[in-house]
């Protein structure tokens, strides 16, 4: 069993297809909806955590893709304006996932996106507001 997070973008016409139902029934994937923005008749997006067997999740994602749903692993959607960072460390105070840490060697910020659990605490914690979770 693994857990993976995806941002799903639905095309306007797919609104009424029970895609998530298929995922549960055919691929035995448990779905945890973390965030949803669905506008009837327009594009919609979902932030999902998929839990299941690795090969089933892969099959499920393939299935969604075949139905014109764009699936992106979440790490692509966290924006950090690294070039403006002053390495103050404020964000590391709140990042309990250990994604944001200070290098003990040069005291610069290190961001390991694979560890991020999207708790969003770093967004208000950075006094330069360099983090954005881009959820479209």
């Amino acid at each position: 069993m693994i857990k993976k997070r995806y941002i799903l973008n639905f095309p306007p016409q797919s609104g009424d297809k029970p895609l998530s139902y298929q995922l549960v029934r055919d691929y035995d994937i448990r779905i945890n909806i973390l965030k949803a923005e669905v506008y009837p008749g327009k594009r919609g997006s979902l932030l999902l955590e998929l839990q299941g067997k690795k090969e089933n999740i892969e099959k499920g994602v393939k299935y969604l893709t075949e139905h014109q749903v764009i699936c992106e692993p979440l790490d692509k959607r966290i924006h950090f304006q690294e070039e403006k960072c002053i390495d103050c460390g404020n964000c590391t105070a709140v990042c309990f996932a250990g994604a944001l840490t200070m290098s003990k060697k040069n005291w610069k910020l290190e961001f390991d996106k694979s560890k991020c659990v999207v708790c969003e605490l770093c967004i208000p914690a950075c006094p330069l507001h360099l983090f954005e979770i881009d959820f479209r």
Partner: protein, 387 residues
């Protein structure tokens, strides 16, 4: 008799490119194997630095006169209120000033916008008099259009600072960052052994007129800072174990660099400004050598509970522990995080070292030493009759 170097001798060596300059971290390293006497013999100047949020900062601006002239009695820069009680077109914009409607953009941001060469909207009102008939002006200004643009910070470079924790059940938002409930994090803010006033704890060489690195150019220490407190408890190495002395500094903003000044906004707290300060410490004698040799293990500070009224002290820890990533508070292992930039402080200490080595920076002897035996009053509230 131990050897005593004078400012003149050190400056002479700096000019000839013969002086030995180390950063405070380098000298702390050297002190592991060298005695203060040896360090005093070998080293001439030690550079210290800090880059952290310093709320008591701001800029003096002279806008120039309009024709016909106006006496600016209410002034806004990009909507941020500035001080209006200084003659006709002088003003002071405090880093933390803001329009309550727009709390995330404040005086620090105005200073930064000007510094970066951006246009800023000046709006001012006056009542109109014979000398100053004009009643209103609204125009754009920039760093080249204004006359003086002087950074003047009444309180900077705190000598040591508390560690902040929160024992309550609610998350709190402070100038020490976001403090999670139930002692789940601890934040600290000085650069430890690199911090300026910790390397000269009795302020023998830092006084009125000391030339310093300020915001990327050369500035000066012009007074003791506000809330100057020299009688805090000290540890066995002679450093105060909580916030103590401070300095007031001044410098020409037109020569400064946005790399060493940064406006910030702390969520639910307000605006502040990161200021880059570097102070060179001349190794006049063995005593100064001993002072600058101090290391992170020897510098201690107090852990205060920011969630509880009166901010009780819970623990005393040292900077080696703080920088290790964890401290113990009330028996609990607590994760630490810095809230000032050690990386940038190192860069400043390195840059100042380079200026000194190239003979581009002359040390100045304080023309006056700061007061001793000071402490603080709190504001006592007394009954005031209505009239």
């Amino acid at each position: 008799m131990p050897k005593i170097k004078t400012y003149e001798e050190i400056n002479q060596k700096l000019k000839q490119g013969k002086a030995v300059v180390l950063t405070a971290e380098e000298v702390a390293q050297m002190a592991q194997s060298a005695s203060p006497a040896e360090i005093a013999e070998k080293v001439d100047v030690v550079t210290t630095a800090t880059f952290g949020a310093m709320c008591s900062s701001g800029a003096i601006i002279n806008f120039g006169h309009t024709s016909p002239p106006i006496r600016m009695e209410k002034i806004r820069l990009n909507g941020v209120p500035c001080y209006e009680g200084l003659a006709a077109v002088d003003s002071y914009i405090g880093a933390t000033a803001c329009d309550p409607e727009n709390p995330a953009y404040g005086g620090a941001h105005v200073i930064q916008d000007l510094l970066e060469g951006k246009d800023v909207v000046l709006e001012a009102w006056g009542k109109g008099t014979d000398c100053y008939p004009r009643k209103h002006v609204r125009t754009r200004i920039n760093i080249d259009s204004i006359n003086e643009f002087t950074l003047f910070n009444p309180r900077n470079a705190y000598q040591n600072y508390n560690v902040a924790v929160n024992t309550t059940k609610k998350m709190i938002h402070t100038y020490m960052g976001t403090l999670l409930p139930n002692l789940r994090n601890a934040t600290y803010s000085t650069s430890g052994e690199l911090s300026p006033l910790l390397n000269d704890p009795d302020l023998r060489t830092i006084g009125l007129g000391t030339r310093i690195f300020l915001g990327g150019t050369q500035g000066f220490v012009v007074w003791n800072g506000t809330q100057f407190h020299t009688t805090r408890p000290k540890n066995e190495y002679g450093v105060p174990v909580t916030n103590a002395a401070t300095i007031a500094v001044i410098g020409n903003l037109k020569e400064m660099s946005p790399e060493y000044l940064q406006a910030v906004y702390y969520e639910k707290y307000g605006v502040s400004m990161f200021i880059g300060i570097g102070i060179p410490i001349p190794i006049l004698d063995e005593d100064m050598a001993r002072r600058v040799s101090i290391n992170n293990r020897q510098i201690e500070t107090s852990v205060l509970d920011y969630g509880t009224v009166g901010m009780p002290k819970l623990e005393q820890v040292n900077y080696e522990q703080l920088q290790s990533g964890f401290i113990k508070v009330k028996g609990k292992k607590v994760r630490t995080a810095p809230v000032s930039s050690l990386a940038k402080a190192r860069k400043i200490a390195g840059e100042l070292k380079e200026w000194l080595e190239k003979g581009q920076f002359e040390l100045s002897k304080p023309v006056q030493i700061f007061p001793q035996n000071t402490s603080l009053n709190s504001l006592k509230e007394t009954e005031v009759e209505h009239d």
